[in-house]
Subunit: 288 residues, 2 copies
């Protein structure tokens, strides 16, 4: 049982953890912390938090579990803010979409990766944000990746794993760099493509007309371009190396595809499309 | 009232037209035509067609309305097949996603764009295909673009417009090239990107693991990569010029984006993401 959970950043991710733990009776008290008073008031009204504060030092005071669910760009400042206020038995974890940058932030603030910090990333979310978007079943049967380092205390890992299991999630462990490479492919690159395509079309002079004739497939394809721009700016910068390599490689492949198309290479096109359909039907629909 | 409708290609598109016209009592008899016996038997079982045949000449015999809902690559052969068998009051329309190539096919087969042919394109569909996928409400409040030429008979246009209105659709007219340019942007390019991304990831050596960590956003983003590969190969080749120009331009933009990312240009990234989110929220969600 978590006695006192501090959720720093009470949005879709942090709010849903609190709701899931409450539903399974796995937490006694939840303290919310964030910048927007309106969002915190709403979080209390929705029963996500019992108390709230704008001060991270106050939020972690007395907490045995701390969840950092802030944008990656706010991670370092948040860590600094809690630095001298954690109680001795506290375990801290985060939900950032890039893990290498969090490790860097930890080294910067604490001079090491503290044993009580368990880097984590729930593979779940929607394009919505804020406390209003939170719901208890968000993590049900979803994967949570933990990327502990050799310095991480095994007992801290166990406590964080238990928390995510109580939220209904399946837990996997992997190395930091491996996580960041996989997520660059399955999440960060698709977001870059969706943002970039919508922006590109919006800048065409007939953009009004173009969007008017967009059908269902386009809506699904570009749904992720409605995600929070600040959060995604932070993610892309935090995973800069893996992501820019992947982006460059994909841009090269599109140039090749354009060449295949210009040559009217019917076999070449069909081969790509068939391989893609097979892969998607097999891997993606299998887990839906 | 349509006396006898010939649907050449009884899949999602053609089958849904038949079902919608039946539901509004706008057609007496529907004849289906296609290559797969299994699909035609299923179409009859589902009440989509009254009769079926594999022979396009037989299918159009006695029909006052003919809908060509075959892949673009089969359009020319289909037109040749019906050439000497249409009755004098017949109107023919199609549902191809590219209109320039259909116009070329018509000139090739008939030496001109016949007055009784009304080129059309319903902006509707799902990633599913076949008679099984058809449903009567597919075109409800969807747009249908007609691209008649100066040679098209106004009476033929009216009859086709009436048919689509009876399916619940809104009708717009626009020039052939303009249609093909707009659709390259909103439909053909996104499909190319989705096919290409999934194929690219499937060819990575850790592809099993990559797809395992794909979350909801990725599933939506890549849904269109489960579309019919042959149909899309045909569409891409038919709209080759517009599409390859757009693909090259977008690949260039991705290279620029990679550069922005490598420079750590936080403002530049945020600007793109914010513009994209604004455009999507405004244009896309407004029509959902």
């Amino acid at each position: 049982m978590i006695e006192r959970l501090a959720v720093i950043g009470v949005g879709l991710i942090g709010g849903s953890v609190a709701l899931a733990l409450r539903e399974t009776g796995s937490v006694k008290t939840v303290v919310g912390c964030g910048r927007s008073k309106e969002n915190l008031v709403q979080a209390k009204r929705l029963g996500i938090v019992d108390h709230y504060t704008h001060d991270v030092a106050e939020a972690v005071d007395g907490a045995d579990m701390v969840l950092l669910a802030v944008p990656l760009g706010a991670m370092r400042e948040t860590l600094s803010g809690m630095r001298d206020h954690l109680q001795s038995n506290a375990v801290v974890t985060d939900a950032g979409s890039v893990k290498g940058s969090v490790i860097e932030d930890l080294r910067e603030v604490f001079g090491e990766v503290p044993g009580w910090f368990v880097p984590g990333h729930p593979i779940a979310g929607t394009e919505r944000s804020g406390a209003d978007a939170a719901f208890a079943s968000l993590y049900q049967n979803r994967r949570v990746i933990l990327t502990p380092t050799s310095e991480t205390d095994p007992k801290a890992i166990s406590r964080v794993e238990l928390m995510w299991r109580q939220c209904g999630a399946d837990i996997t462990r992997m190395p930091v760099a491996h996580h960041d490479e996989i997520l660059a492919a399955t999440s960060h690159l698709p977001h870059m493509l969706a943002f970039s395509l919508v922006d590109s079309l919006a800048r065409l002079k007939e953009n009004d007309e173009i969007f008017r004739y967009a059908a269902g497939g386009f809506r699904d394809f570009t749904r992720i371009a409605s995600s929070n721009p600040v959060m995604w700016r932070d993610i892309c910068l935090a995973n800069q190396d893996h992501l820019s390599a992947m982006l460059t490689r994909f841009a090269d492949e599109l140039h090749e595809l354009a060449a295949i198309l210009e040559q009217g290479d019917s076999e070449g096109l069909l081969e790509i499309f068939e391989r893609a359909k097979r892969a998607r039907d097999r891997y993606i629909d299998g887990v839906e």
